[in-house]
Symmetry: D2
Amino acid sequence: MTSTTHDSATDETAAVARVRDTLDRQALLTTLGVEVVEISRGRVVLDLPVRAAVTQQDGFVHAGAITTLADTAAGAAAQSLMPADKNVLSVEFKMNLLSPGVGERLRATATVVRAGRTITVVSAEVESVDGDARKPVALMQATMIAVDRR
Amino acid sequence: MTSTTHDSATDETAAVARVRDTLDRQALLTTLGVEVVEISRGRVVLDLPVRAAVTQQDGFVHAGAITTLADTAAGAAAQSLMPADKNVLSVEFKMNLLSPGVGERLRATATVVRAGRTITVVSAEVESVDGDARKPVALMQATMIAVDRR
Amino acid sequence: MTSTTHDSATDETAAVARVRDTLDRQALLTTLGVEVVEISRGRVVLDLPVRAAVTQQDGFVHAGAITTLADTAAGAAAQSLMPADKNVLSVEFKMNLLSPGVGERLRATATVVRAGRTITVVSAEVESVDGDARKPVALMQATMIAVDRR
Amino acid sequence: MTSTTHDSATDETAAVARVRDTLDRQALLTTLGVEVVEISRGRVVLDLPVRAAVTQQDGFVHAGAITTLADTAAGAAAQSLMPADKNVLSVEFKMNLLSPGVGERLRATATVVRAGRTITVVSAEVESVDGDARKPVALMQATMIAVDRR
């Protein structure tokens, strides 16, 4: 194993730890019950178990909760490719709701589309997970910015 | 008072009652602590008191909570102009985060830009309220659709 | 060949012909020099040869021309899955510009994400084509609506 | 007149000249026939006379041409508040099409919502102008970035 490979694995471990720490410090995620499924460089998967506390008037998961899930995954995916001295903030995002948020849980998978020094663009898909069934629920296109960590 | 005026006032009262009922049945709003400030035809104002349970890693209100506030206000504003047999769903929205969500409370003011039979476009501004100080926090442009009430 | 297969092939041929006809009647595409690369059900590819007439101040292709390419491909992809008596209109779209529009040509590939009776959501990627090199230039997420053909 | 006022007027004149120069160097605007109506700090108005060359299949102005008008006005409004050594690029924008682009001309009015050192958010409204009649045609929310002038 070359030192480059070694460094790279170390980098990945450190980046994943930073992302996990950032996720752990977001109180809203605890309020909603968001769970971390996977963190890797450029890709983060989060789950939101469906329960009454996150629903809208028809008993579906509220678009705001779906957006919280997708935005958080998108920000985490962006952070996973940033240096340790940078924090990530959402500049903006756009969300299409494709079908009602139902099932056992919603799963957001965020993937970095383009990582720049300042601006990172991320795509996030949210799907409904119900036993073996999967169904697309929402699609987000998000713009994140790297800012100096305070 | 003409019967037209009378009907119109009745319509407004009925529409406001329908919107309030829809808001009351959204469990996520209770989870986050959202408060209704104003409902009129084509314009809805909602507040989110700032508290730890809705924050992200820096202690600011999470973009997902801000979006929940704005999307809910936008949907309610759209519903306020729809007939009684229609329900409103978010097709999509786009949100710019302008400054950190801080202060005593965040206030979303949603205004219908164009009300169509099927599609309604709504603009929603979120500002920070801290004593007498106000500061823009976020700006949303949203597309809502009228569907038959089930 | 079963009649189902036969009908399906006929349907595809008819749908492709309708999309091509719609593209042929868009004068702006001639003004900009847009070329049809591929039309199939749910997927349309269009090219914009890079020339001075479509540029902005730095000599890159103008974001408006890139958007025209992507929006047109997205609308065509949506129309390809609609019945013959429906026309397609853009409700809204969101576009991220990822890198400057340079090279020999820009290529937009639009893919339907979700086709509904009324609302169709489409994703469109624009890439720069320069000899064998390809580079992502823009990413669009678009909402299309089916309206009765007049 | 205080020197501060004097400097400010000079600044405005210089900023307007820079914006006009940037607009003059965008060949696509000549191709489409875009006309400058007003440039002031934080606000730019552009017109697109309606003619066949900018239309889609129904004879309405193509969403891509409407977007070009709005995006150009938005970028110019952002540039008008930036220092002389900065250039402006579109990070992303979101566009709602409200009604068909018809009439004698379309007019885009772009207003800066928040001007930051790096990121500027702009709102742009497009309306149809037909004699004395005005009608909303489109609404854009755009994110611009300041980059070092090359």
